[in-house]
């Protein structure tokens, strides 16, 4: 076996390491170029280290890749480049999963999104956005570290499936000014998935970003400041949803057609809509003066979704279903090496977040009070059901690193992080012109949290690296959470690296999950306990000149997962509950490299996931992968790229629902109706500099989903019926054509 492995490696070395790469007959430069392709990451250990030394599986996405491959959001970077992560778009907040576990409806709160060490997940529901809702100019990003696997050991709650660590550019790299303009066209889509190129059906996106970096000396100390702003808008193309008809409601004694639009016919849902729209505005400011760094961000993200989940209430089709997030983040940090054995970091942070979700309903029985306002016409009345959430949090973190020998081989990191957070929400029923009809289910809470963590790294031998850490989080209302992690990396004589990682994470129940309540549908559950996960992984990675491949096997145990489920004692009512757990295991692999002017990459992840109670994970793909090829036409010339993302069939979000016929018999979907088709996303990009104008670059791009429908069931009919044999699925964005132009003034 050993001989076979060595033979295989030798053959592979011969095949790849000495390929012509510009090297001479004396000595190829492939190994040096390969080393220069080795990223340095700071996310997994909160300290700079080679990616292959880090105690996790990490995909690094560079700003050059973001530009040349036309990646505009985290969502796209995850799908087209990451190993082990997957994202999918319900025409709403993009959902992200990893290694066969995607928890639909979690608003991204099983990943932690960190920008320059500052967590962006808000403190009410733990929400993080991966589409334009991240509200960050993509040009501000130096590189992304997509860390797969539990990461609570240094980051605390929410790092269940992984951490997305965003590292921004330094002022000097941005230049005096950097402007980007971008526009895209999207044709209309019919209910059967076909495209319509009629001019009136087109939608579009537009984006403008402006960045400026400036560095100098102030009072003898280096000073730099970066300012960035971005505005993004998407005014949707016409989308047609398949109609659901014969919809009725009743009060127990009689039935009547249920109204799903303010002005359309009663008893019917679906048709054409142009209400798919997004607006994002963000402002960033970061500065550094000597050992002090500062960071501030203000962002607004609003969107209209054509067929939003109604949280069990009757939400109009094509109605005013919109959401808006506003956030403000501030951080001040001081870091210094005090002596060769000891360095310190202290940071203070403050964040504020506000959420407004409004859904239009024309069905008066779903009004929170169940009563019409005085004088309202029950046959022609619409109102808005709003959820208004808010969170404010702030804290102080102190971190010390003790380098026992003063040479970087045995650094011990110790830290303590204390924070206070206030959050709350109210449900409001209002008329379309803003008159408040009722306020209900308000809650406010003030909580504290203190965490202490330690991480010892040890280079026991030049080829053997150990990383062991633990974090203890105490939070008002919960028992302490302990999240350990251990990792060993061994570099074999042939420069292959073996890595063993055992890591754990937790996610505290969010304020929303504990306290949100909707009359007649959802009740509070303040007794929720944290979710937990324990993961083991074994990986092997080999570099052969400018080529690299990796293979990782993993197994995870999730417990106490929080889901919205019916109350056994009162089935119409639901509550977030600690349900059973999940067991999943699988493999992921990567191959990437460069042959002269051609670079390539591909990843694959396959997983088996089973729930303790035999239920199936909805909307979560069990296998997925991506592939890309880029060809540089000539030295420093334009680059042409083709990208693909594929994910396997999976259960739709309505797959577990059952109906009942008139005789009380249970109706189930057919197997074909329970599963979505595979999802295939393709993209072709051409990007390059315009030589005639210094600093100018252009990019053209065409792409879209091959499959017409996603995995998300929409509309009021979510269960099988005699005449309803397959759920109505939300459309995918099938085609876009985009042109970008950027200019940098050094």
């Amino acid at each position: 076996m050993k001989v076979a492995l060595c033979s295989l490696l030798l053959c592979a070395s011969a095949a790849f390491a000495d390929v012509p790469d510009g090297g001479s007959e004396e000595l190829g430069t492939g190994d040096l170029a390969g080393l220069l392709d080795t990223p340095v990451v700071s996310g997994p250990s909160r300290a700079e280290e080679r990616v292959d030394d880090s105690p996790a599986t990490v995909t690094v996405v560079t700003s050059a890749q973001l530009r040349s491959l036309g990646l505009r959001t985290l969502h796209e970077a995850i799908n087209f480049l990451s190993m082990g992560m997957v994202a999918q778009d319900p025409l709403h907040a993009v959902e992200v999963g990893a290694r066969g576990v995607l928890l639909s409806g979690d608003y991204g709160n099983h990943f932690l999104v960190v920008v320059d060490g500052h967590t962006l997940n808000e403190s009410w529901n733990g929400t993080a956005y991966y589409e334009q809702g991240l509200a960050m100019p993509i040009e501000l990003i130096d590189h992304l570290e997509l860390v797969v696997g539990p990461g609570s050991v240094l980051y605390g709650s929410s790092a269940m499936l992984g951490v997305v660590n965003v590292v921004t550019r330094r002022a000097a790299e941005i230049g005096l000014m950097r402007v980007t303009l971008e526009g895209a066209l999207l044709p209309a889509q019919r209910a059967d998935g076909s495209l319509s190129f009629a001019p009136e059906g087109f939608g579009g996106t537009g984006r403008v970003s402006l960045l400026s970096g400036w560095s100098t000396e102030l009072l003898g100390l280096p000073f730099e400041v970066t300012a960035a702003g971005e505005y993004f808008m998407h005014q949707g193309q016409t989308l047609e949803f398949g109609k659901q008809t014969g919809l009725v409601e009743g009060d127990g004694t009689s039935e009547w057609p249920q109204r799903w639009t303010a002005s359309g016919p009663a008893g019917e849902w679906g048709g054409e809509t142009r209400r798919y729209a997004t607006r994002t505005t963000s402002l960033w400011l970061k500065s550094r003066w000597g050992d002090v760094t500062g960071f501030a961000r203000a962002a607004s993200y609003s969107r209209n979704t054509p067929a939003i989940d109604g949280f069990g209430v009757a939400v109009d089709f094509d109605g005013r279903a919109y959401e808006r997030d506003r956030s403000f983040d501030l951080e001040l940090r001081w870091a210094r090496v005090l002596n060769p054995h000891f360095s310190m970091m202290v940071r203070g942070y403050f964040d504020d977040y506000e959420y407004l979700g409004a859904q239009q309903s024309s069905t008066f029985l779903t009004n929170g009070t169940g009563e019409l306002p005085e004088g309202a016409d029950p046959a022609n009345f619409s109102f808005l059901l709003e959820t208004r959430g808010r969170a404010t949090w702030g804290g102080l973190e102190a971190q010390a690193t003790i380098d026992w020998l003063g040479d970087g081989r045995f650094p011990l990191m110790l830290g303590v992080d204390g924070r206070a957070r206030a959050f709350g929400a109210t449900n409001v029923d209002a008329t379309l012109d803003g008159q408040i009809l009722a306020e209900s289910n308000a809650y406010e809470a003030l909580e504290w949290q203190v965490a202490a963590y330690a991480q010892q790294r040890a280079r026991l031998l030049p080829s053997l690296l150990l990383n062991a850490g633990v974090r203890v989080d105490t939070q008002s209302g919960f028992a302490p959470n302990v999240a350990p992690r251990g990792a060993v990396t061994w570099t074999a004589p042939w420069e292959g690296r073996f890595k063993v990682v055992v890591s754990s994470a937790f996610r505290s129940p969010s304020g929303y999950e504990r306290f949100a309540q909707y009359e007649g549908f959802q009740v509070r559950n303040p007794l929720l306990t944290p979710e937990r996960v324990l993961t083991g992984e074994l990986g092997y990675e080999q570099r052969l000149g400018r080529h690299r491949f990796a293979l990782v096997g993993f197994a995870s145990r999730f417990t106490s997962l929080i889901r919205l489920e019916a109350l056994p004692e009162d089935p119409p009512l639901t509550a977030y509950q600690n349900t059973g757990g999940l067991l999943n295991h699988g493999v992921q692999g990567l191959v990437e490299g460069t042959f002269g002017a051609l670079s390539y990459g591909a990843t694959f992840t396959g997983a088996f996931t089973t729930a303790d109670d035999g239920t199936e994970l909805l909307a979560s793909p069990m296998w997925f992968g991506n592939a890309r090829v880029t060809y540089t036409l000539w030295d420093d010339g334009p680059r042409a790229s083709v990208l693909a993302h594929v994910s396997g069939p999976r259960l739709t979000t309505a797959a577990a629902n059952q109906g009942v016929d008139a005789d009380g018999n249970v109706l189930r979907w057919s197997d074909a109706a329970r599963f979505s088709s595979p999802q295939i996303e393709l993209r072709a990009v051409m990007e390059g500099k315009v030589k005639a104008v210094r600093g100018l670059w252009l990019r053209g791009m065409v792409g879209g989903n091959v499959m017409p429908y996603s995995v998300y069931a929409v509309g009021p009919l979510q269960a099988p019926g005699l005449d309803f044999t397959a759920p109505t699925l939300a459309p995918n964005n099938r085609l876009f054509v985009m042109l970008s132009v950027g200019w940098t003034l050094e």
Binding site: L35, P39, T62, V167, W289, P340, G408
Partner: protein, 182 residues
């Protein structure tokens, strides 16, 4: 006034240039890239002397120790076994004496030499050795080779003018992998 003084004292970094590539990776790159310097290969005896110079400041000394440890773990530099000497910098004259005395062919500067880099480069001019800066800024100030981090990946900076002054003769295909500083 008190707040201003406090802020100033907090901000007052002992170093104006910082390493952005970990020491181990710098050493690994250094050990490999020197194989492509023809003059290094020709003029180097069976063992090469590597001088690691640091200032009397905590960040500088810490990084120098990390470089020294990483060098000890590397069996060869530029294909040649090596002996390493850690030197605390006092002034340029003393540095030149030490270079002369040890016969160093590789002089690695830990962070903190931005202000003196020009004087050092001038002082060492004409000697057949290669100067390495742990920070990007040192290369702009006249040291031959240095390390930067761009897009999360290491990048070698190369000062062509300084290289000529030290008779370094890197092969063209390797220079293509570097960012050349005029």
């Amino acid at each position: 006034m008190l707040a201003w003084a406090l802020l100033l004292s907090l901000a007052a970094s002992p170093e104006r240039d910082e390493p952005v590539v970990p020491a181990e990776l710098q050493v690994e790159l250094l050990a490999r890239v020197l194989r492509y310097d023809r003059s290094f290969a020709k003029a180097t005896p069976e063992r090469v002397k590597v001088l690691i110079v640091h200032r009397e400041s905590a960040p500088s000394e810490q990084f120098a120790r990390q470089l020294s440890t990483a060098l000890r773990a590397a069996p060869v530099v530029g294909g040649v076994p090596h002996d390493d000497v850690l030197l605390r910098f006092t002034d340029v004259a003393r540095l030149l004496e030490e270079v002369e005395r040890t016969g160093a062919r590789v002089v690695v500067f830990a962070p903190g030499f931005a202000p003196e880099s020009k004087a050092i480069a001038t002082g060492l001019e004409g000697r057949q050795l290669i100067t390495i800066s742990a920070t990007p800024r040192g290369v702009h100030e006249g040291l031959v080779l240095g390390f930067d981090l761009v897009d999360g990946k290491p990048r070698m900076l190369f000062n062509l003018t300084s290289a000529r002054r030290h008779q370094s003769d890197f092969r063209a295909e390797v220079i293509k992998l570097m960012t050349v500083v005029p």
